[in-house]
Symmetry: C2
Subunit: 381 residues, 2 copies
């Protein structure tokens, strides 16, 4: 087999994101997989290889070895394995699946991102998520809100940002989530409500923080030599890693791993941020949206606020986190990167003019960053 | 880039396996990586991508996100991610690394298999390992010795096997480990000592069981278009999955996932078991060696005992687990599959006649099985 020309996003499906006490981790995998297979008009027997993105299955559900669990659910005898890189596990699973197609080891690959988190109470899940940080940060008693609060303060010190400006990120996300049937929070908040919500880790408040969520998302990727005008294509996906801990990085007001992954995507594929019409970026905390827009090249350093203002006032055409982002759609860790690909694909499928989208999935406080490029048929012609 | 012709095993290194209380998980990764890089005569800057095989880092060391931990250790900014499939995590990481080379996304890949287990006392690590089994098996109070005891009884019922016959597997492994400087147990046992050791899960006794171990192993794989007579090559590596739990499988006296992965290896590469001169197989419990020799095609069903007898009496030339296997070399879960590749490569490097070796790494009670084929230069000519 030759290297395939195009990686088609052939089908996708997801569960609702939220507090899904009636679902087990297996139930989530099963529902998202069935929806993705139905959407792709495929049966499990037509899938060659499977990658599962998940972080906390061992701890929360007492279940590692999700490959074998999947095998049992579907009587699937091919390769299935779990990929983990904290909150970037979903995008890393997509990266692995794409590689199996590029290596011509598979023609059709399934990716399932999944996380069952609400079975633990919030202190316990907070400690568990700190497994994605460095040992020094755990020993210092830091939490992820604490880490992103440090980053927020560093950003404010460098560029300045008012409390109400920070609130614009969750404000926009809660607005976007209103039309997303899968979103955890379909509820609008005013800037004032966000700015006055409970203080969690100064300056971050409750409504700056993405929630603890259950959920799963699945996509089918197929190696193709011909283009379909109704499908979106995964053009490229790049990974960069960095220190697990914030200390020792060049600065704390940007995420260098995102900058590197984005630069690779743009350089290798000869595109620029200005050509991207839709993006799903990793807004785990309000400041993450500001940093990501800059790290991904949509705004100059320190200038993302005006872009966010323009998006809110519809002066900019950039579609930013149509799902509602991690903030309002929810953040079932391993599912997020896969959900991002689904959302971007949905915006691009069936468009007739050149249409480009970006996905951006971060592990920890920036120890892993994965950036993906999605396009319609026109990109290749 | 075109698909590379040959995947060279360019370098390898490992820590001692055992109760390494003075080593953290990071220390293990660091030592094995340094040794593999030195052996390959490469620096970390010459590595394009990294895969880490590990199961229990989150639980035992409170550290997921090993990609970012690796990045911090080596100031490495490329892609690093963790691959998990229970005790087969190491071989799955090799599979992923090979795929990245076959996809021409990398020219040089590093694989690190690692596990830090002895920080937990044995009951706790036993429960933790049951995350690799099915929920029903956990709820039934089963342990891995219990699961393999069920398989042993099923094998005995089907084919018959005396207590002292079962003991021949650990007997041979402890003999082999005497000359392995990295082995956890460099101590011989008589058949009588093994058959009379403490009963763990009837009929399995203490000396039928592989130990709890710390350790790491690393290999460097390089895409080449030319052959080096002093190197071994990873020809192919295949994965098959099956039910996480024993119930529902066709039988409990063989591992179908191993049979499928081995058949793929033989068919795709036009080799047969009879051509293999060295194998490192997954002998987590005595019965696993009997089943694997049959599942991999070295003996007919029910007839592996006579092969083991022939190996012990040197009537057979097959080199079986020269490391001492999981039983005597030790079984730091994520490291095992990588150690197997190292051992087979060492036997094959520098041979002048056609030389073929096999690796065989199992997750859980057979929910994942990974079989790899290693050869010298002659295989390709």
């Amino acid at each position: 087999m030759n290297k395939p020309k195009f990686i088609e996003i052939s089908g996708h499906g997801q569960t609702k994101f939220g507090e899904l006490y009636e679902y087990s981790l297996e139930d989530l995998i099963f529902e998202a997989t069935n929806l993705a297979l139905d959407n792709a008009k495929l049966t499990i027997g037509e899938i060659d290889t499977i990658y599962i993105g998940n972080m906390t299955g061992g701890e929360v559900s007492n279940q590692s070895h999700l490959g074998a669990v999947f095998s049992e659910l579907y009587n699937f005898k091919g390769p299935v394995m779990r990929i983990e890189g904290a909150c970037a596990s979903g995008a890393l699973a997509i990266h692995s699946a794409m590689q199996s197609l590029q290596a011509s080891n598979a023609k059709t690959a399934l990716v399932v991102g999944c996380e069952k988190m609400t079975d633990f109470e919030s202190n316990r899940i907070g400690s568990l998520l700190m497994q994605a940080a460095s040992q020094e940060e755990r020993e210092a008693g830091l939490s992820f809100p604490g880490l992103y609060a440090l980053m927020t303060n560093s950003y404010i010190e460098k560029y300045g940002l008012e409390r109400d400006d920070l609130s614009k990120a969750p404000y926009l996300m809660h607005k976007n989530a209103l039309t997303n049937q899968y979103a955890q929070f379909k509820k609008e908040f005013t800037i004032e409500q966000i700015s006055n919500s409970t203080l969690i880790a100064d300056p971050l408040r409750l409504l700056d923080c993405s929630p603890i969520s259950d959920g799963a998302a699945a996509v089918v990727l197929t190696a193709r030599n011909e283009l379909n005008p109704n499908k979106a294509y995964l053009v490229d996906i790049q990974v960069s890693c960095d220190n697990a801990g914030l200390a020792g990085r060049d600065n704390q007001y940007s995420i260098a791993a995102t900058q590197r992954a984005a630069k690779k995507i743009y350089d290798r594929n000869e595109v620029s941020a200005g050509q991207i019409s839709v993006i799903e970026l990793h807004d785990c905390f309000s400041i993450a949206m500001f940093m990501a827009l800059e790290d991904l090249g949509f705004a100059n350093p320190g200038e993302s606020l005006s872009l966010i203002d323009d998006i809110i006032s519809k002066k900019s055409n950039l579609t930013l986190n149509p799902s509602g982002g991690l903030k309002a759609c929810g953040h079932p860790v391993g599912a997020t990167g896969v959900k991002q690909l689904i959302e971007v694909a949905k915006q691009i499928e069936g468009t007739s003019a050149l249409s480009l989208g970006l996905t951006h999935n971060v592990g920890g406080s920036g120890g892993t960053s994965v950036v993906g490029l999605v396009a319609n048929k026109e990109y290749f012609s």
